[in-house]
């Protein structure tokens, strides 16, 4: 009888050990599955934050088209406004911190590179702020709009551009 009870206790101990080991293995398996997507989640989060920052700049009053080119325009940058901003750049000294901001025309491409009041709008890059030459680069597509005149008539001309922000 005593021997039988001992065997029973041993059986129970083995059973408990087996179940505990099994559960531990399952927990490890689940932890591995959960953490395998962590790097991807971090990348998505980083991309989201960068895009939010770029979108915030593109939609700020200094950049945004607002109602000048029709309503409901998102991620729309007013090129004419930016050129005026360049003229008054010293007033905006330090306004964007140490970040470097430029709007690069993607399509259609013009011959000239950097935009000045002389070559605008036949140029590709409007450099708003060039405080920082080192750091992280983040960019997003925007619509670069301006007022164009044809045969005495004014119309809205919107092109594809990228807003590029470099920050440290």
């Amino acid at each position: 009888m005593n021997g039988k009870a001992q065997i029973k206790i041993q059986q129970m101990a083995f059973m408990l050990l087996a179940v505990t080991l099994f559960i531990a293995l399952v927990v490890v398996f689940l932890v591995v599955i959960r953490f395998s997507g962590l790097k991807e989640s971090a990348m998505i989060l980083e991309e989201r934050n960068s895009m939010l920052m770029v979108n915030k700049i593109a939609n700020s009053p200094e950049f945004a088209c607002e109602d000048s080119f029709g309503k409901n325009k998102v991620n729309c940058v007013d090129g004419d406004k930016l050129m005026m901003l360049l003229q008054n750049n010293e007033k905006y000294m330090g306004f964007w911190g140490d970040s470097s901001i430029e709007v690069i025309k993607i399509f259609p491409k013009s011959k000239a590179g950097l935009c000045t009041l002389d070559n605008y709008p036949n140029c590709n890059i409007i450099r708003v702020n060039s405080e920082n030459s080192e750091g992280f680069d983040t960019s997003n597509f925007v619509t670069l709009c301006r007022k164009e005149i044809e045969e005495g008539e004014t119309y809205d001309k919107c092109e594809i551009a990228k807003i590029n922000v470099r920050y440290s």
Binding site: V26, N75, V142, C158, I160
Partner: protein
């Protein structure tokens, strides 16, 4: 006497067998319960992963910018945005200069996608697909490069006639 002893032995063996069976059933039940718990955990984990959209803000912004692009297609008022050209193309209409709206759309979209997503050897972007559908039927499609398993995409609806623009970039 001998017969009684045999009966007793037989009864003991039957009892032992029944107890062993009960233990087996208990063990099986534990295994089943643990398996169900694992299945619930795994399905919960997988479902959470699937719910994470593979959307890209960059692709979404690209579609928005493209739709706002001023095309060469004119009507009696002004030059039309690409969004309006898509609607004109869906209605099989022409621009003021007599050119088909679909032709303008095709030329412009090819140029825009080629300038915006460069498919260079060793580059980050391997390919892209632009699909414009009307009532779930494709009315315009561009496929360029390699369609890998690593991709990000976005969709925008134009509202009218259930026109949808899908753009997917493959890395």
């Amino acid at each position: 006497m001998k017969k009684r002893a045999q009966e007793q032995k037989s009864k003991i063996l039957t009892d032992m067998s029944r107890k062993a069976q009960e233990e087996m059933v208990g063990f099986a039940m534990i295994v089943i319960i643990v398996a169900i718990i694992i299945l619930i955990f795994i399905s919960f984990s997988i479902n959470r992963d699937v719910q994470e959209p593979l959307e890209s803000y960059e692709v979404n912004s690209f579609i928005s910018s493209t739709l706002q692009y001023t095309s060469d297609c004119q009507d009696y008022i002004s030059y039309l945005s690409l969004q309006k050209v898509i609607l004109k193309c869906a209605d099989k209409e022409k621009c003021l200069d007599g050119k088909e709206a679909c032709e303008v759309l095709n030329e412009t979209l090819i140029q825009i996608t080629q300038s915006s997503w460069k498919l260079e050897r060793g580059g980050l972007t391997k390919g892209y697909v632009l699909n414009i559908t009307e009532k779930e039927k494709s009315i315009y499609l561009i496929k360029e490069g390699n369609l890998t398993s690593n991709y990000k995409g976005s969709m925008q609806a134009l509202g009218r006639d259930e026109i949808q623009i899908f753009f997917t970039v493959y890395y």
